[in-house]
């Protein structure tokens, strides 16, 4: 008789892998990426490719330099690069895009120990870094291709009242025909991607729904105007943030209650920044702040195990 393998149960595995999950996220981001290319032109593709290539290369070089196992095949660097690119305007100089992507991977992810160990979302943190480092180019607004440039200001700035201009129609906003970052404008494409992730059970609906709904409700409370609240909900980076950034595994709570708390907290911070802050956009900061609170949310929302005591 040949020698048998002996191991502890379970002896089968579901077949879910990190790589498959990341691949699903990439697939879910494709509609938004394609929409971005259609709305803002071919340079969008260049921005996306630069960001992804820089992110992957940065991780590869970091692994080689630190003599660590090469982890680029888990595709998480691709996801980070992709999300970062989609949250940048199409006019961004490519070298700045690359710097941002490298920052996301090296500073935010790798030096904290790589995938799963970072406490802040790489793409969000890199975007915040870029707002500070390259404030002019990040704030620069790109108007959709083929649409008359009615204003050089993004709708959010118009809503704030600091710039004059006409607000796009609701239909245009759903389709993404408005000024903004490459991947953030087409709400329809983002929702399609989000639904795909929910069907594939990669993310749960709790965070995005809590985040988006609470932003709407808080702005409604703060301004008392449903139209303003609706515009705020569809504008800026709320949908890409709620669907793709606030659902990042490493930096958000794992349990359902925690996800709801995270979403509402992020919605609150977004609303406060948008209404009273000096910045037009608050999604990135909201997510980043909630990322920092995640360990506490996780601890406080831990549920009572069956037959056990309250944690």
């Amino acid at each position: 008789m040949n020698k048998l393998k002996v191991s502890v149960s379970p002896h089968i595995h579901s077949g879910v892998t990190t790589q498959k999950i990341m691949l699903d996220v990439i697939i879910a981001l494709l509609p938004a990426a394609v929409a971005g290319c259609l709305i803002f032109g071919a340079r969008s593709l260049l921005v996306i490719l630069t960001s992804v290539a820089a992110a992957v290369l940065a991780e590869l070089l970091f692994c080689l330099a630190c003599k660590r196992e090469i982890t680029i095949y888990d595709l998480s660097a691709v996801v980070s690069g992709l999300i970062l690119a989609l949250s940048l305007p199409v006019t961004m100089p490519l070298w700045q895009v690359a710097v941002g992507a490298v920052f996301a991977i090296i500073i935010v992810k790798c030096i904290f120990g790589g995938i799963g160990q970072n406490f802040a979302n790489p793409a969000v943190t890199a975007r915040v870094f870029m707002i500070i480092a390259f404030s002019k180019t990040v704030a620069a607004t790109a108007t959709p291709k083929g649409v008359d440039a009615v204003s050089s200001a993004t709708p959010l700035v118009i809503l704030e009242g600091t710039a004059k201009g006409e607000l796009p129609s609701i239909i245009d906003m759903l389709l993404g025909k408005r000024a903004g970052a490459i991947g953030e404008t087409c709400v329809v494409a983002l929702v399609i991607g989000g639904l795909y992730l929910m069907i594939k059970r990669v993310i749960s609906w709790h965070t995005p729904v809590a985040f988006i709904a609470s932003t709407f409700i808080f702005i409604l409370i703060f301004t008392g105007d449903p139209k303003t609240a609706l515009y705020h909900t569809l504008l800026g980076g709320l949908f890409i943030g709620a669907i793709f950034m606030a659902t990042d595994y490493s930096t958000t709570p794992t349990n359902t209650m925690g996800k709801v708390v995270f979403g509402i907290g992020a919605g609150f911070i977004t609303s406060v920044i948008r209404i009273w802050g000096s910045l037009p956009e608050g999604v990135s900061y909201a997510i980043l702040l909630m990322n920092i609170l995640t360990p506490y949310i996780e601890k406080l929302t831990r549920k009572k195990p069956l037959g056990g005591d309250k944690a």
């Binding site: 008789m1 040949n2 048998l4 393998k5 002996v6 191991s7 502890v8 149960s9 379970p10 002896h11 089968i12 595995h13 579901s14 879910v16 892998t17 990190t18 498959k20 999950i21 982890t71 888990d74 998480s76 790589g114 995938i115 799963g116 160990q117 749960s204 595994y249 490493s250 930096t251 709570p253 794992t254 349990n255 359902t256 831990r302 549920k303 009572k304 195990p305 069956l306 037959g307 056990g308 005591d309 944690a311």
Partner: protein
């Protein structure tokens, strides 16, 4: 509507469902372990050279939680020695060489039952243990304290591959109903729930038909999700009752009895034949002809596989039980035990452990734990050696179902870590108690 507990959706792979079990002819020899149950091993009472017959007592019960062992074939005792079992302990084992006759021993006569004591004594003498896999001596469970009035018949069979319980539900439904009647008469059971997963339609129909006249018995159709058949999960999903940490089902008024165990009880009361054969599902990727078989207890796994046409590919892993909680054996010479409900053999591809990668904090383990534990945090606390944290995380509640390891995309050995963490926690609590004692002594 009760909110059902979470779990994972495992592949069913019930290839042998509806396969009518065949009796396997007696093998050349059987090896009967004296420890096929939880508790103290039984003590052999036969000598080398003794001739034994089917149903003859060959090892006596030893202590309160223990169970006797009976000869499963007729023949001569060839060897009595200590063998290494999968738990790592050495236990006495009796090897019987078959004479091919399968003669029944004269002690095999139906027991007379008039009182609760008679009933418990009969179950004790039958050598029946929890046949769902746990192997806990059934008589101990049935001799329950006051206030136990609910019997849950466990026909969930949530593990992939295994169909031996389904076969029992289909072919021995009458026996199960009879056992339920006995328990109602003798141990004060008032309410009976038969829990069956919904993927066993025929079994559900059969049990519904057989229990149609009795208002005390309900057949509860459960979702097909793993670990539906785990005791605490089953109690919660059928009655809504929660068994507190460190307590037994009896503390919430329930007895959970596997359906095959129930059928065996009725069989013993009818015929007096102790537990000497077992319906076993033989399956797994490496088995040529997967099927259900009725096998004399003690038959070597190699003989059983041989009877199923041998292997289609070289088997690299052989399991007692299902792939989620089954125990892998070091050699196919291991015998079929009382509580063996399936034996599975896997080839290279299915037995190669997947590579572990970094935890991505996705929370799948947290959201799929039926008990509601946090395996990610338990892993961290265990790595840090923090008994204090492990106590807070209540790792002692883990029933080791393996959902966390099954679902983990990084393929981390989470349930394995939980098992180790339980030991760390036990040490921590023991030390804490010793310290408290010392301080109070000062």
């Amino acid at each position: 509507m009760l909110k059902m507990l979470k779990g994972v959706r495992v592949p069913h792979r019930k290839n042998t469902y509806l396969s009518v079990p065949k009796e396997m002819p007696p093998p050349k020899s059987v090896t009967l372990l004296c420890s096929m149950h939880i508790g103290k091993p039984a003590v052999p009472i036969v000598k080398i050279g003794d001739s034994v017959r089917v149903g003859q007592l060959i090892a006596e019960q030893n202590g309160f939680i223990s169970s006797p062992v009976h000869a499963s074939i007729s023949g001569t005792v060839k060897k009595i020695d200590n063998v290494l079992i999968s738990s790592g302990a050495y236990v006495p084992a009796v090897t019987i060489e078959s004479d091919g006759l399968m003669e029944k021993h004269e002690s095999v006569t139906p027991p007379v039952i008039n009182t609760k004591e008679d009933f418990i004594a009969a179950v004790k003498a039958s050598g029946i243990v929890g046949l769902g896999g746990a192997g806990f001596p059934t008589y101990v469970k049935l001799d329950a304290k006051e206030g136990v009035d609910t019997l849950i018949i466990n026909g969930a069979e949530c593990e992939p591959y295994i169909t031996s319980d389904s076969v029992t539900l289909l072919s021995k439904g009458e026996d199960i109903v009879e056992a339920i009647g006995l328990m109602k008469n003798f141990i004060g059971i008032k309410k009976v729930i038969i829990g069956i997963e919904k993927n066993k339609k025929e079994a559900i129909e059969n049990m519904k038909k057989l229990t149609a006249g009795d208002d005390d018995i309900t057949v509860k159709v459960l979702p097909s999700s793993y670990p539906q058949g785990a005791e605490k999960v089953l109690i919660y999903n059928t009655t809504g009752k929660i068994v507190p940490a460190g307590k037994l089902p009896a503390d919430v008024g329930c007895i959970v009895c596997n359906c095959t165990t129930a059928a065996e009880i009725a069989e013993y009361i009818k015929t007096g034949m102790p537990l000497v054969k077992k319906c076993v599902t033989v399956d797994g990727g490496a088995v040529k002809e997967p099927k259900n078989l009725i096998v004399p207890i003690g038959t070597s796994l190699a003989d059983v596989f041989e009877f199923c046409g041998g292997f289609s590919e070289e088997s690299e892993k052989i399991l007692y039980g299902g792939p989620m909680m089954g125990i892998s054996v070091p050699s196919a010479d291991a015998p079929v035990l009382k509580n063996t409900n399936a034996i599975l053999a896997f080839g290279n591809a299915e037995s190669t452990a997947p590579k572990t990668t970094a935890c991505i904090h996705c929370g799948r383990c947290v959201n799929h734990c039926p008990i509601g534990l946090v395996p990610t945090e338990i892993e961290k606390a265990y790595t840090a050696g923090s008994g204090e944290q492990l106590e807070k995380l209540q790792v002692n509640l883990c029933m080791e179902c393996g959902c966390c390891s099954y679902i983990c995309p990084a393929k981390r050995p989470l349930v394995q870590t939980n098992k180790l963490a339980k030991a760390t926690l036990r040490d921590y609590i023991a030390k804490k108690q010793a310290k408290a004692k010392e301080e109070s002594g000062k």
